[in-house]
Point group: C2
């Protein structure tokens, strides 16, 4: 949590954090600023002190809405610095940082850098800055960055934001089911009022309209994939595909608060009208594993790798191949059991090393699935859960896990 | 243009480009891949050769939709590399790059890096890679990066995409005007059917719904700012503000193709019902400068700094203070006359050094404005133009520049 940041910085031996870039759609910056329209800024946090946001004068009012102390970047007269360096933007930006650091009393110690930037720019600017400031050690943390460790556990406010996104998500999922069921089937596919086949593109457009109406963003798109595409975990679904009865539809929706805020992550697998025995069996295998994980296996303070191993055990007992047996498989259980989510749709804790733990405060997805593209099908079920201080694990948005959506035949 | 890339690389002494990150909302990657759902990949282009896209096996089908040659990142067995480095992600990622480079024959020369990444990650990974590969010089280009130079001029396909976004933009602007005019005024503000004041939030929601309906994205939000906010160029407008008659409304809309494609950029200033003499005079000053720039001043192959200077001349002749006189001013003409746009909403050419030029192939905005927050008003007019090979300068979407929107009084 944010309140742990100073302690985490001390533990990691960090004296300062520098976060660069936009306030929106830039999780490290948004974590401090919230949803304000600052297109380019620098936030510096010294250990034990409140952060300071440097921004352009044109964005001063928006920056102030963050509630943070702000400083005007224009005062550092970048055009003059550029001239002084013979027109070298990396050197000029480094010189500007040097002045900014001096202004807030950062003259030595260890500085960790954050923020979404062009790779070439951060490489050039921070190497130039490192050469300029030998008393400051610039670090790119790639393993358990301090800010990600702080963000791994959520405070009450973040939980509330996530809950609200969960409520919006199930509202949109309900509307999607009702929308599909408002169509009749003809010759095995859903048809619209004009008598033409409904398409996945039509469904996605409705989902996007509901997202706007309900005031949320869908920046990563939605997965609504049918048949063989449902068997390829990250196929997003072909917009021209029609909605054939009896085929698995993997519907994975990961909405975000406006401006790049908190996410929710949720998957159901549906079959329109009916499910063949083969599809029903696939679903039941996933459902059995899902229910066992949710009701028996998953415990607070458990390692996610342990949960992944148990998931592989369970799927292997059912006779499916798993990614544990072969990291290159494309059929069977081919991914991780879940991940943390928050300002990033994938964030700590993770299954992959360093192993994440279901410690109190984390928000994680639980998403077992089976994929058989060669047999034209796939199935995944996913809920988002929160681990309470007392160890209770709460599903943050309830919605039925049923496979078949009843459809009227024309 | 993309076809110039090999020549531009040769001129800059670059042997290879490496672009990392997502395909969507990552202009450097999107430039090659187009709109495909690849959440994390690496694209390498050797000079004189076609680019190769490395992606995760889960995203192999989506990656193939780009039409590029693809390779599976899983083959480089990152988990083993991580173990080998004692769990150091920067070292392990650098080792993976080393293997990838060897596979495609990149063993020496100069490599420029691109792509939106976390600053700390690119700093750590590419410094580790540089240490590992002394025969390859890794560069972060910060001045006129080769890829930005290629992207500065647009080919016929890019122009077509921009034109389509222009058509969508004026459709949405027309709908916005009609929506406002469908409301009556009472006690000086627009009211809705329920008799309550219409708000800026209501207008923005409609704009977002039309964007979805017309299949475009609005990732940066829209500026719809009234009164004093209209006088602060990058105030986006307060959603709770009511629509008061006679106040300037700056409506700046910069939509983008889905997935992070091409932009359009467009501004009108409106007054609902009537304009006071003071507001009318402000508008006429901006309109006069706008018309002079469009009809007399602007020529193909002109420097944008020259155009900015001419804009300052014209505004100063009218008696307004300009940013040329004082870079810190907040009243008068306080910004640049325009900028290139494409996959980024701000890209080459720019007014700021190194000075951009209106060379054939560029798409730029022309956007003079005057701002008086202390007097509760601001005005900006903006069109997007293309410079043809024969020097003709074409406005890419026509729409009236009028100030006053007639409103029925209740």
């Amino acid at each position: 949590m944010k309140k742990d940041l100073d302690a985490l910085m001390e533990k990691a031996g960090l004296d300062a954090l520098l976060i660069s870039g936009s306030a929106t759609h830039n999780p490290a910056m948004y974590y401090f600023t919230g949803n304000v329209h600052v297109s380019q800024g620098d936030l510096i946090k010294l250990r034990g002190q409140e952060p300071v946001l440097f921004c352009n004068s044109m964005e001063r009012e928006e920056a102030a809405r963050s509630g943070l102390a702000t400083k005007n970047l224009a005062e550092y007269r970048y055009p003059e610095l550029l001239k002084q360096t013979g027109g070298d933007p990396a050197q000029a930006t480094a010189l500007r940082y040097q002045k900014m650091f001096a202004d807030i009393g950062l003259t030595k110690g260890t500085l960790s850098i954050y923020g979404k930037m062009e790779a070439g720019q951060s490489f050039a600017v921070f190497n130039a800055l490192q050469a300029l400031l030998p008393d400051i050690e610039i670090l790119g943390e790639t393993q358990d960055p301090v800010l990600m460790l702080a963000r791994e556990t959520k405070d009450a406010n973040e939980l509330e934001h996530t809950r609200k996104m969960g409520a919006v998500t199930v509202e949109i999922v309900s509307r999607t089911a009702a929308f599909l069921q408002s169509h009749k089937a003809k010759e095995g596919v859903l048809i619209n009022e004009a008598g033409n086949p409904l398409t996945i593109g039509d469904v996605k457009r409705k989902i996007n309209q509901w997202a706007i109406e309900l005031g949320v963003e869908n920046p990563h798109g939605v997965i609504f994939a049918i048949g063989r595409d449902a068997g390829v975990p990250h196929s997003t679904g072909n917009p021209e595909d029609v909605l054939e009865l009896g085929k698995t539809i993997v519907f994975d929706i990961f909405l975000q608060e406006p401006g790049g805020g908190y996410h929710f992550d949720f998957t159901r697998t549906w079959c329109l009208g009916f499910a063949s025995e083969e599809v029903q069996a696939l679903y039941e295998d996933v459902r059995e594993v899902f229910d066992k994980l949710m009701n028996e296996e998953m415990k607070a303070n458990m390692g996610l790798k342990t949960l992944q191993d148990r998931t592989c055990d369970l799927f292997e007992e059912q006779g499916h191949e798993t990614i544990r047996q072969n990291p290159l498989i494309e059929e069977g259980y081919v991914h991780s059991i879940g991940h943390g989510l928050g300002l990033d749709v994938h964030e700590l804790p993770f299954v992959r090393p360093p192993e994440g733990v279901l410690k109190p405060g984390v928000i994680v997805t639980i998403e077992p699935g089976l994929y058989y593209p060669s047999r034209g099908m796939g199935c995944r079920l996913e809920d988002t859960v929160f681990v309470h201080a007392d160890g209770q694990i709460e599903v943050l948005a309830d919605y039925p896990h049923d496979l078949v959506l009843e459809i009227e035949i024309n």
